[in-house]
């Protein structure tokens, strides 16, 4: 069997086409060098199936496999899905820590400690007003000072309690917005459902939907800051996505319900942090502040011998404080009788309200400090994971420039090979057999 004279032309053509396609991929990479979530692509080149010559290809009559050039076997997306998991885990930790840090920073500003104006200082001034009354039990202005110090203290407790309450309300509102019908989770769910469908059809049509996969991965990256994202493969490129314990999307069906069920647990991220803030952290602070108010209420009322502070919570402590004119300094009949005032003033050494409040300040401080530290750790870990992923998937312009040269030269060389064959054919067709003409 003889071999076609034009085989070489075809081989060169394949070379030209493959180099050109590789160049196209390179320019696509360059164009997307700054696209967020873009994965660099590569045209995988492979030798074309060889032409099988059964016999007579060599002098001893044996057959051969003759190379026929190159083909693009696939457009590869260069990505490591394990690194995606790392990035998403760190993004979740970052969302958790930064949400917590932000909320707690606001809470600790509301405490305003250590200062000369916080509740601690006001408790001190309240007891000082009582010791001034013990020094001047006859004085109406001392009683006035006690009443006004008590009122100021009650107001401060109520204001701090309200600040804690509104921090919890704000966290709840933020949670509702994020999980609501116009929130990012819902919009991610509908985009994911569309992408699942599009990717499914593309794979059915035997195409590589690389850019669609990039878009989907980018949405999953974004989603991971809100909670624990887990992905299960359903085959043919379709996926099911869970956020915490709740399915967001299953193939092309949006599972996410608005609002999410009460059993929804985000498992971390911004939503997890908001859930923890509203259900545990902030109510805990509120309860601790109420406990301080109760201690103050119980101790002062016991020492005063009748009702001084009205309520046993931060919000109600200031209710029912007697008017200055009805405050009594002592049980005796004498104007200088000051045993009650002395007993109340002595609470500054014996009441645990101050140390309870100090412990609460430390608690808020260390929770905030921990969240701030966790935020910088998570930021560093996220940056590291993102670096490792960029290391694999990112577009390096230097590399693409080198590829550009490589494929350009490959294209030129294939073209040169084609010219050589053309010259050979020219000799064969136009010059052979023309001896003597």
């Amino acid at each position: 069997m003889s071999i076609s004279s034009f085989l070489g032309l075809q081989t060169s053509l394949r070379g030209l086409q493959a180099q050109q396609q590789a160049l196209d991929v390179t320019t696509h990479n360059i164009a997307n060098a700054n696209t967020v979530g873009y994965t660099r692509q590569e045209a995988s080149l492979g030798a074309t199936n060889a032409l099988h010559v059964a016999a007579g290809a060599t002098t001893d009559g044996r057959g051969a496999f003759l190379g026929q050039g190159v083909d693009v076997t696939a457009y590869r997306r260069i990505r490591d899905s394990f690194l995606d998991l790392q990035v998403r885990a760190q993004n979740m930790a970052l969302g958790d820590a930064s949400t917590t840090a932000q909320a707690l920073d606001r809470v600790q500003s509301a405490f305003g400690e250590p200062s000369d104006t916080g509740i601690n200082a006001l408790i001190g001034k309240f007891f000082t007003a009582w010791s001034d009354l013990a020094n001047h039990p006859e004085s109406d202005s001392s009683k006035q000072a006690v009443a006004s110090a008590a009122k100021t203290l009650g107001d401060a407790f109520a204001a701090l309690g309200a600040d804690l309450g509104s921090a919890a309300t704000d966290a709840q509102t933020q949670f509702t917005q994020l999980t609501g019908s116009t929130g990012p989770v819902q919009s991610a769910a509908s985009k994911l459902a569309q992408l699942n469908k599009a990717i499914d059809s593309a794979i059915d049509a035997n195409q590589s939907p690389n850019d669609l996969l990039d878009q989907r991965d980018q949405i999953l990256d974004d989603l991971s800051q809100y909670g624990q994202v887990s992905v299960s493969q359903l085959g043919n490129g379709r996926i099911q996505v869970m956020l915490g314990n709740q399915s967001v999307v299953n193939d092309s069906t949006v599972d996410w319900t608005v609002p999410p069920p009460a059993t929804f647990a985000a498992g971390g991220g911004t939503l997890g942090a908001l859930q923890k803030l509203t259900t545990t952290t902030l109510p805990g602070y509120q309860a601790a502040l109420d406990a301080v108010a109760k201690t103050l209420h119980d101790d002062v009322n016991a020492a005063y011998g009748s009702s001084f502070f009205g309520g046993t919570t931060a919000a109600t402590l200031g209710a029912g404080i007697p008017a200055a004119s009805s405050i009594v300094a002592g049980t005796g009949t004498g104007a200088a009788s000051n045993d009650i005032a002395t007993a109340v003033a002595a609470l500054r050494n014996t009441s645990s309200a101050g140390s309870q409040y100090g412990a609460l300040v430390r608690q808020v401080g260390s929770d905030t400090a921990n969240a701030v530290d966790a935020q910088s750790v998570a930021q560093a870990a996220y940056d590291g994971a993102e670096d490792r992923r960029q290391n694999v998937s990112g577009v390096s312009l230097d590399e693409e420039m080198a590829n550009l040269l490589r494929f350009q030269r490959g294209y030129q060389a294939s073209a040169r090979a084609m010219s050589s064959i053309d010259e050979m054919l020219d000799t064969l067709i136009n010059r052979a057999g023309r001896v003597g003409l």
Binding site: G334, R348, V361, A369, G394, S396, L397, D398
Partner: protein, 293 residues
């Protein structure tokens, strides 16, 4: 490792952000002068600062009580000093009257002066300090003696102590009641007056003088009690002042910034920022494209 354009850019930005955060921290430490501006800066330190501030407030409340007690005791002592002078004068007059050579007419004029001294004693104890009658027990709104009443020698106050808290669990009685001082003296003076009127030189010489001496002892006792209490209160005040200094220093150690160190930090962070900016600008500029043609 493949370093991509996005990576170096992100590194530069992340480094700049970190340096700028540290710079802002250093800046705010210098401008506020505080090491602990919010509890998260140092939770334990913040709790300690809260406690120390309470201690300072407590300390200053006790200091106020100490000053108050001292003024009360000083006023008491100065009144008792006058009382002592008056009783001494009464004793001199009694000695003079007891002399057998003194004529009944002279005894009459001595009686007039003695009666005036008796009133003066009560007026002295009726003196008010800061609007309060300090010799009336806890009935500080009532003068201890009503000179215009039918029973001008009757004590109008009560026997209750006036107590001031000058430290945790430390209380002092700052008052002396008019009754303590004058309950023996007034009858003695009245009886001397009567003996002067009845020209009873023998009684004047014996029982009356003895009774006056007892009265003088009572006044002296009261004064020494006041003096001892004053010493105690002064010592307590000194301790409070010392504690105030110690606590203030401790609080400052806890929450105030170490200024030289804060300033050094600040300039170090400024240098770091300059270096990071400079490094970033050279890094971002270069690529292979600059060298291919």
């Amino acid at each position: 490792m493949r370093i991509t354009a996005g990576m170096s850019q992100r590194h530069v930005l992340a480094d700049l952000r970190r340096v700028q955060e540290r710079l802002a921290d250093a800046q705010s430490r210098v401008s506020s002068g505080k090491q602990i501006e919010k509890p998260s800066d140092d939770p334990l330190g913040a709790e300690r600062a809260v406690r120390l501030r309470s201690e300072l407030e407590t300390n200053s409340a006790y200091s106020t009580a100490v000053d108050e007690s001292k003024s009360w005791l000083d006023a008491t002592d100065s009144a008792l000093s006058s009382v002592n002078d008056i009783v001494q004068r009464a004793r001199e007059l009694t000695v003079q009257a007891a002399n057998g050579a003194t004529t009944p007419t002279a005894r009459q004029s001595i009686k007039l002066e003695l009666d005036a001294l008796t009133d003066q004693l009560k007026t002295t104890l009726n003196s008010a300090y800061d609007g309060r009658y300090i010799f009336s027990g806890t009935k500080t709104d009532t003068p201890p003696y009503d000179l215009t009443s039918a029973t001008p020698d009757a004590y109008q106050g009560d026997a209750n102590p006036v107590v001031r808290q000058i430290g945790p669990g430390v209380s002092v009685q700052v008052n002396v009641t008019g009754d303590d001082v004058l309950s023996g003296l007034l009858p003695t003076l009245r009886s001397i007056s009567a003996h002067l009127a009845s020209n009873d030189g023998a009684s004047l010489q014996t029982t009356d003088l003895q009774a006056l001496d007892t009265g003088l002892d009572t006044v002296a006792d009261a004064r020494s009690q006041v003096g001892a209490t004053t010493n105690r209160v002064t010592a307590a005040g000194q301790r409070l002042d010392d504690m105030h200094d110690v606590t203030t220093a401790f609080l400052s150690d806890t929450e105030d910034a170490d200024l030289p160190q804060a300033l050094t930090d600040l300039s170090a962070q400024q240098n770091a920022l300059t270096a990071a900016l400079h490094g970033g600008s050279t890094l971002i500029q270069q690529s292979l494209m600059d060298f291919l043609r």
